[in-house]
């Protein structure tokens, strides 16, 4: 069989047990809460009747495997259960929330990659000033906590850039311009640290590749420096860069939780935090499931991309 196709199939096959274990862990959350989760959810005023009613509603009295089966079956049909507080179906809630989180994370990642990769390359092959400046930016981006950077940006806006809204949200389809304006600060907040990591990784990977013997051999063939840097070295450095982008996507999803809270954006992250504080377990589960699945999909895509860039990876079948 074609080794690349085999690689794709094998990597897809590896994702299934991961999804399974992840879903089991998230499913178990509500069952692992110390004491009776229903009592915790309803508070101390709960009557035995209401407790029994909720237990029945959540099927907590069924055998565990049956509960899991029903939950997964529901999720696969788009039924995530009900919001415990508002009684609204969770699928609608998630349909509103997911695009917001996706928009922030994807925009931040795009910005970080667009800035980080070229700067990282310059930092590796450029002169002393290129190196100093990028190093300074990397130290800044990595040291400064994202939410504090967000707060400082808000402070700056309040002082000088009054036209930027400090918080709020409109859906893209209602008002594209307004939507993007609301996105500027949150995206910037997340992208700075991201860009710093990508610069650092790109620089390190490029330096590693440029020290390898095949670069000398390319020079000995008379290959132009530009081609050595951008065609050969960058392609070889792409594996660690793509891997870091994949891992950092997880960091972004975490950062989105904080940034959504900070800028009052109605995303999945804020949904989860609010739900934890309300002990609204069905919502916590649905939110975590969505974010974890997103992350697993991103990891899958990164690995596939790496496999296609570097034939050694796809041939070996090891990630």
């Amino acid at each position: 069989m074609n080794p690349r196709l085999l690689f794709v199939l094998r990597r897809l096959g590896l994702t299934i047990p991961v999804l399974f274990v992840m879903s089991v862990v998230i499913f178990l959350i509500i069952r692992l809460v110390p004491g009776d989760p229903v009592r915790t959810m309803l508070g101390f005023r709960a009557t035995p009747q209401s407790i029994a009613q909720v237990r029945a509603q959540l099927h907590l009295d069924d055998p565990l495997w049956m509960q899991y089966r029903d939950w997964v079956a529901g999720v696969l049909h788009g039924d995530f259960g009900q919001d415990f507080v508002s009684k609204a179906p969770l699928s609608e809630l998630l349909a509103q929330r997911i695009p917001v989180t996706l928009e922030i994370t994807l925009l931040s990642m795009l910005l970080a990659v667009a800035v980080g990769v070229p700067l990282g390359v310059r930092a590796a092959v450029g002169g002393r000033w290129a190196r100093r400046l990028t190093e300074g930016f990397v130290v800044f981006g990595i040291s400064v906590p994202d939410f504090w950077l967000g707060i400082m940006l808000v402070l700056l806006c309040a002082g000088t850039m009054m036209w930027l809204p400090p918080s709020g949200y409109v859906p893209f389809l209602e008002d594209p311009g307004g939507n993007l304006t609301y996105m500027i600060l949150p995206v910037l907040t997340l992208a700075v640290a991201e860009a710093a990591y990508i610069i650092r990784t790109t620089r390190g990977a490029m330096l590693g590749v440029i020290g390898r013997p095949f670069i000398v051999y390319l020079r000995a063939k008379g290959t132009k420096e530009r081609s050595i840097v951008y065609r050969h070295a960058l392609r070889n450095a792409a594996t660690p860069i793509a891997t870091v982008i994949g891992i950092q996507f997880g960091v972004l999803l975490g950062g989105a939780i904080v940034v959504e809270t900070l800028f009052a954006l109605p995303g999945v992250g804020r949904l989860i935090v609010t739900a934890i504080n309300q002990r609204n377990y069905p919502v916590v589960q649905a939110g975590l499931l969505v974010v974890a699945t997103l992350f697993i999909l991103v990891s899958l895509i990164t690995d596939l991309v790496v496999g296609f860039i570097d034939p050694q990876v796809s041939d070996r079948g090891k990630s």
Binding site: R10, R316, G317, K318
Partner: protein, 330 residues
């Protein structure tokens, strides 16, 4: 005289790199017999994938074979554990290829040389210190080398330390895996001389693994040639180099660039690549590259057979695993 070391039918496989459910296996050794007499040096030559290093590791008890036996001085060492294994290890010691990698960079030379003395609890700490100085002197280093670290020594000095460490427990057999291939020719000569002297003075036997035929020819009493997990020919050193029989041995000897311009390479070199030990060829492992193959070579795995007619001098019978080149059996 009985053999000090007797290896019979040794088979070793390990999982091929990579992952997956039906992982292939590397066939490192596929039934190997070898014997080594007390105080002799047995040279083991072969190219990559021949399994010569795996055989060395089995003898050292560092690799557990899938099948076969390794008898050392009458004791089966396959499957030994605990104190019985330690007793044997005291008598079989290794010298490795990379003299830097075989010494712990954080330890002083003295501590490395003392390592087996510490393990076996030989003598008092003061005795051990004295023994370390003796050993260093024996391999041509000065006592103050004991306080240095490996990075402060040259390649040749490090290998001397490696040899001193191997000698510390007073072994009967030293298994030397490519001990001089990381060294320059002039340093290599010093180490080979040292090993020859130690053998004369201490009567220690060597299993000498190398890819370099010239070195093996220089040091060995008997030589075995390996190809893809099998020994194809075993003989006294002089017999083997003067009258190689197996087509692979002949090709290998022909391929060695000798430093004599008058003996320029005129033979057509052996064609083709060495096959991977993951999927070794059926029948005789060498048949796809063999200039003398016949139809049956791809089906039958030839056994190592003694050839009385070829045994000119030594006590070791000349044995060859190739039915094509052998005279028909009576």
């Amino acid at each position: 005289m009985t053999a000090l070391l007797d290896v019979r039918g040794l088979v070793v496989t390990f999982p091929a790199p990579g992952s997956g459910l039906r992982r292939k296996r590397v066939h490192a050794l596929s039934g190997v017999d070898l014997s080594l007499r007390r105080g002799h040096t047995h040279g083991l030559v072969g190219e990559s994938g021949s399994g010569k290093s795996t055989l060395a590791r089995c003898v050292l008890g560092l690799q557990r074979p899938d099948d076969g036996s390794v008898v050392f001085d009458g004791t089966e060492i396959v499957g030994l554990r605990g104190s019985a294994l330690r007793d044997i290890r005291r008598r079989i010691q290794p010298v490795f290829q990379d003299p830097l990698g075989s010494l712990d960079p954080r330890w002083t030379v003295g501590r490395s040389v003392r390592e087996s003395l510490d393990a076996f609890g030989v003598g008092s700490p003061l005795d051990r210190e004295r023994r370390v100085r003796e050993l260093l002197d024996l391999v041509g280093l000065s006592p103050d080398h004991a306080d240095r670290h490996p990075v402060q020594l040259s390649g040749g000095q490090r290998q001397r330390v490696g040899i001193a460490a191997a000698l510390a427990s007073g072994p009967d057999l030293i298994v030397a895996d490519e001990p001089v291939s990381a060294l320059d020719v002039s340093v290599q000569a010093q180490i080979l001389n040292l090993m020859a002297r130690l053998q004369r003075d201490l009567g220690v036997a060597f299993l000498f693994v190398s890819h370099d035929l010239s070195v093996v020819e220089h040091v060995s009493n008997e030589v075995s040639v390996m190809y893809l997990g099998k020994i194809v020919e075993t003989a006294d050193r002089a017999d083997l180099f003067a009258g190689p029989v197996h087509p692979y041995t002949r090709a290998l000897l022909d391929a060695v660039p000798v430093p004599e311009p008058d003996a320029r390479l005129v033979h057509v070199p052996l064609s083709g690549d060495i096959p991977s030990p993951i999927d070794p060829p059926s029948g005789c492992r060498f048949h796809p590259r063999c200039p003398r193959r016949v139809d049956s070579c791809s089906r039958e795995l030839p056994a190592l057979t003694p050839v009385e007619a070829l045994n000119s001098t030594g006590h070791t019978p000349h044995r060859v695993a190739c039915p094509v080149v052998l005279p028909a059996r009576p």
